[in-house]
């Protein structure tokens, strides 16, 4: 179902306090060559009932934003800046505190359901664990809730299948199990990292449909990370375009696709093959290759590949500037007001 909302609803949502706020978030990793920065000063808000998309190519830092917010940054990484959940700082929070938030109000759907489900545990045990641990439910109650949730994500014969092991499910069914697990505690905030990338296109269509229905039903705040502009177009209300760890552009879904301001967004849209564009000519490309992790550089991270680069772009890093109506923002010296 298309997500159509009235302008009153949109206005109400805008007024509500954000459930998640990131401010100047930086994530660095210690590698052989020293510390390199994967996420470089990222700030954004998400509110309840809103689906925020983060789109970028490999190495843009998009997944690391989610990992930092979930307290899952790898051992060789460090985070700085601030990420608050319902007003409370979660960046570098203690494991106890994180456990409490993660189990009850914040959850995540990972890309590959085969490697993120425990192959040694029956699905029923993986699903009920969280309910028993966080909500003090009895085992029997927890099983009933889990079966109900599996039915909600349209797993046929859920009461029998819940006793199976993950390998006994197909890829699409495993991703449904993952989604059910993430939604069990009715989280206020849901992260999804490339939730359909590992799936075939007909199964992807089913899962996107399912996600779309569920997030609106739960009125959760959702952050989806993907490289696929089609997935963004289908699910999101607002989009952040990331390149080299920095936000290049932020806009409402319609604005981003119809009037992209940043040259990188424009390039990305033009390079994406469509089903309705002209095939007589070559695809538009972005010259060069995505920036590899390479510490901090001066200037705009996209400058080396930008066709509209000026001298200033290689020296002075453009700040993310909001338009006067505050509805969108771009980090580019060429984009004014």
């Amino acid at each position: 179902m298309p997500s159509t909302r009235t302008s009153a609803e949109t206005a109400a949502r805008q007024a509500a306090a954000p459930i998640l706020s990131a401010r100047e978030l930086c994530v660095d990793f210690k590698l052989e060559q020293g510390w390199v920065r994967a996420v470089d000063g990222v700030s954004f808000d998400v509110r309840r009932g809103e689906v925020l998309g983060i789109v970028g190519e490999s190495g843009s830092g998009k997944s690391q934003i989610l990992m930092a917010a979930m307290g899952l940054t790898a051992a060789n990484g460090r985070c700085s800046g601030s990420v608050t959940f319902e007003g409370e700082e979660v960046l570098n929070a203690t494991p106890d505190r994180l456990d409490r938030i993660r189990g009850s109000s914040m959850s995540m759907i990972f890309q590959d359901p085969m490697t993120s489900l425990n192959p040694y545990m029956r699905v029923v045990d993986q699903l009920t664990e969280v309910l028993v641990a966080h909500q003090g439910k009895s085992r029997a109650e927890a099983v009933n809730i889990a079966v109900e949730m599996l039915e909600r994500v349209r797993i046929p014969d859920a009461r029998r299948r819940i006793s199976l092991y993950p390998h006994e499910f197909s890829g699409g069914m495993r991703q449904r199990v993952m989604i059910a697990m993430a939604l069990l505690c009715r989280p206020a905030l849901l992260f999804a990292d490339e939730p359909t990338t590992a799936l075939d296109v007909t199964v992807q269509a089913q899962i996107l449909d399912l996600l779309n229905g569920l997030v609106h039903e739960l009125n959760a705040a959702v952050v989806i990370v993907t490289h696929d502009l089609g997935v963004i177009a289908r699910l999101c209300d607002r989009v952040i375009v990331l390149y080299g760890g920095r936000i290049m552009e932020e806009a409402a879904i319609g604005d981003l696709f119809t009037t992209p301001h940043h040259p990188y967004t424009q390039g990305l849209l033009a390079a994406t093959p469509r089903l309705d564009d002209d095939t007589a000519h070559d695809l538009r490309t972005i010259p060069g290759t995505p920036r590899a992790l390479a510490g901090q550089i001066s200037g705009c991270p996209f400058a080396p590949r930008c066709e509209r680069r000026m001298e200033r772009c290689t020296v002075e890093t453009p700040t993310l500037r909001r338009t006067t109506n505050g509805k969108r923002a771009a980090a580019c010296h060429l984009v004014t007001a």
């Binding site: 190519e57 319609g254 309705d276 290759t289």
Partner: protein, 324 residues
Amino acid sequence: MPEALLSVRDLKVHFPIGKGLLAGAKGAVKAVDGVSFDLQPGETLGIVGESGCGKSTLGRAILRLTKPTAGTVVWLGQDFFGLDKAGLRKARRELQIIFQDPLASLDPRMTVGEIIARPLKTFHPELKKAEVEARVREAMAQVGLAPEMMRRYPHEFSGGQCQRIGIARAMILRPKLIVCDEPVSALDVSIQAQIINLLRKLQRELGLSLLFISHNLSVVRHISHRVMVLYLGKIMEIAERDAFYANPMHPYSRALISAIPLPDPKAERARERVMLQGDLPSPLNPPAGCRFCTRCPMATDLCHSSEPALAPRADGRLVACHFV
């Protein structure tokens, strides 16, 4: 009709399973199960389908990289599967392949120059060092790599550049056909567009034929003259590109096209979808009758009992469906 470059007839690739410690085979995965088509010189045929449909196995079997179970492949008028070792070696010069994972398909201990020169040294040991180097430079220039980079190693290159190296290695023998097995699936969007344009250019300028295997129908549309849709080892539809995308006839083709999320929020949210139920059935135990019947929104009793033939339609395309 000019003579086909490649004619594939009733090709089958079955993988026996269960041949373990205890007695004989329990069955077979019919990865490719009776595929026939012709490929003309200078033509690009896109082969699409979901995982497990047999598209990669088909590509590999045509090159005899996987042993076919039955069927024939006629390459430039000669029986390719009947060729002896020497004959196969000779023919292989003109049939090359590029792979999905660009870095994994390059030997990390060889320099890029050595990797690209390898097929040339194998097939033309008589060439002098300077001649080999000149050909390597030519191939590198052709795919947009600076020839000065020939002494570097694969790990020093990005994914897109590694794919260019793989293409240069395939090009150096000046082949007539390249099988491209998901060549852009591992690449970022901006790099994917560069590689598609490169393959289009090579195809156009050198009159190459390509078998372009991909699960991405938007990519296939940009490079193919014709499109073949596979489902569980069988052809569901094979049609001219524009006719196919404007009017996909097989219910599976329609579902595939309608499942692609469009990078256009308005169109994406307004469109009517052909939503398929369930997942791909196991290729070990494909449904009786039409293989697509378990997920087909149009299926009737007839589809469960009788397998539709791949039959020609008014515009010349072939479709395997009782109701088209």
